[in-house]
């Protein structure tokens, strides 16, 4: 609530590190893609379709990571009531939803030629979709609440309770399918692909951090504008 400690200098928003981040992300991403695509053998059943894995799987990991960030900063918000925590949680949720959507989209694009269907009611697929809907609910809630404080508290609560539910959702949906035939999801991975996967994950992580940072900076700039208006309105008190 105290304004005085809000020293925010738009010229020092870390744009430079931002540029390094995005450059690093793009370079690593391109390099790893080239490496992975040229170096990994065509897979037996799927042929070169398997290459989708290099984006699909890291995207899924980044989704989980984002939701974890939402959880941590939501707890922190309710504890310390710092506006920044709310903004970071919101940024992570937005970016996480994008990665979640990407996982779904890539998975479906992959599933069509491999399984012959866009969708199967498999445990992992269903829980990924439910996770996506929890994110959507979180973001919708933010859109429907006008008061900044109320929005922060509500979305923190929804973020935490949603995060608690994620493992339960995953567990329940997995048991739901347990004794039925599994779609041929290659969860066993040939070591030939692991290296490509790992470095791709690092590239994606850089992208994720960059996105969250950028989104957060935008949110902070919006706040800064409001706070500048504040000092003007209070007559330089």
């Amino acid at each position: 609530m105290n304004v005085a400690d809000w020293s925010f200098d738009p010229s020092r928003t870390g744009r430079r590190t931002g540029i390094w981040l995005v450059l690093a992300a793009v370079v690593v991403l391109m390099a790893t893609q080239t490496y992975a695509i040229t170096n990994s053998p065509a897979e037996g059943d799927m042929g070169h379709l398997q290459k989708i894995m290099y984006v699909h799987v890291p995207a899924a990991w980044m989704t989980f990571l984002s939701f974890f960030v939402v959880l941590v900063f939501s707890v922190s918000y309710l504890w310390r009531r710092r506006e920044t925590d709310d903004l970071i949680a919101a940024s992570a949720a937005e970016v996480g939803a994008v990665f979640n959507g990407l996982t779904l989209a890539l998975g479906m694009i992959w599933g069509r030629p491999t399984w012959g269907v866009w969708w199967a009611w498999d445990a992992r697929l269903t829980s990924t979709l439910v996770l996506f809907l929890i994110f959507v609910g979180y973001l919708a809630l933010r859109g429907f609440v006008d008061d900044a404080g109320q929005r922060a508290r509500w979305s923190a609560a929804v973020g935490i309770i949603g995060a608690i539910n994620v493992p339960i959702v995953y567990m329940s949906v997995m048991w739901w399918r347990t004794l039925h035939q599994q779609p041929s999801s290659p969860s066993t991975l040939d070591p030939a692909y692991t290296l490509g996967l790992r470095i791709n994950a690092i590239a994606m992580l850089l992208v994720l951090i960059y996105f969250i940072r950028k989104r957060y900076e935008i949110a902070r700039l919006e706040r800064a504008v409001e706070h500048a208006a504040q000092s003007a309105a209070m007559g330089g008190r």
Binding site: L78, V130, L133, I134, V136, G137, A140, L141, F144, V145, D146, Q150, R153, W154, A156, A157, V158, I160, I161, G162, I164, N165, I168, V169, M171, S172, V173, W175, W176, T178, L179, H180
Partner: protein
């Protein structure tokens, strides 16, 4: 002394909600009828094959409870919002969790009654045979309803105060209820003997854990949510 005052508050809120519901002529009757109507719709949409219907019975009953429950939860906070009664409610002294507890109790009573009706009708409509382990089945039902009411009441306390209340509540609530729905339907099917591959007990434990976890979590979170 303090807990007595708190309990009096909880009771007052629950009583007020139930009275309003009963007095808004047939508020209860119509919610129950709606549950039955949804059962019939599900039957029509999924039918007409008799075996398919019997298999769908458990799912249909739970969906009917879910859909009509959502409407009831939204109502319970909307009563506060109409003519701005939420503000006076927030201005009463005393701990705020009593508000949540009161709403919870009211909704539990309301939905409990509704379950009795919808399940009875469902059993008849879908020709469900009552198994020997029916007390366990009732337990599953109770656990499922508690989970539904706890999360429903909690999310309604936010959704009904936002701009898009009708839509926001189910949007937030339904994905959260997936484990409860899956656990309750699978356990019920196992108990009904329709599904021989699953063991009911594991599901019941999951359902109980779900209830306990979210009962605690929502009570803790409510304080932050109800604040103006």
């Amino acid at each position: 002394m303090a807990w007595r005052d708190d309990w009096r508050r909880v009771r007052a809120i629950a009583r007020k909600d139930v009275t309003t519901e009963l007095r808004a002529k047939a508020g209860f009757n119509s919610t129950a009828s709606l549950g039955v109507t949804i059962l019939i719709l599900l039957g029509l949409a999924l039918g007409p094959d008799a075996q398919a219907l019997r298999d769908a019975a458990v799912g249909a009953v739970w969906l009917a409870l879910l859909f009509s429950g959502v409407l009831a939860f939204n109502r319970s906070f909307q009563v506060e919002l109409e003519s701005g009664a939420l503000e006076p409610l927030l201005l009463y002294p005393g701990p705020r969790w009593t508000i949540f507890a009161g709403k919870l109790l009211g909704n539990l009573l309301f939905l409990g009654l509704m379950v009795a009706i919808v399940v009875t009708v469902g059993v008849v409509l879908f020709s469900v045979e009552i198994p020997a382990r029916w007390p366990t089945l009732l337990g599953v039902l109770a656990l499922g309803v508690v989970g539904l009411v706890v999360l429903g009441t909690f999310y309604a306390s936010m959704a009904s105060r936002s701009r898009a209340r009708e839509v926001l509540l189910p949007l937030l609530l339904f994905p959260m209820l997936v484990p409860a729905l899956v656990a309750a339907t699978t356990a019920s099917k196992a108990l009904l003997g329709a599904d021989l591959m699953h063991d009911a007990d594991a599901w019941i434990r999951l359902l109980a854990a779900y209830d306990v976890i979210f009962l605690i979590a929502t009570f803790l979170a409510f304080e932050h949510v109800i604040e103006a």
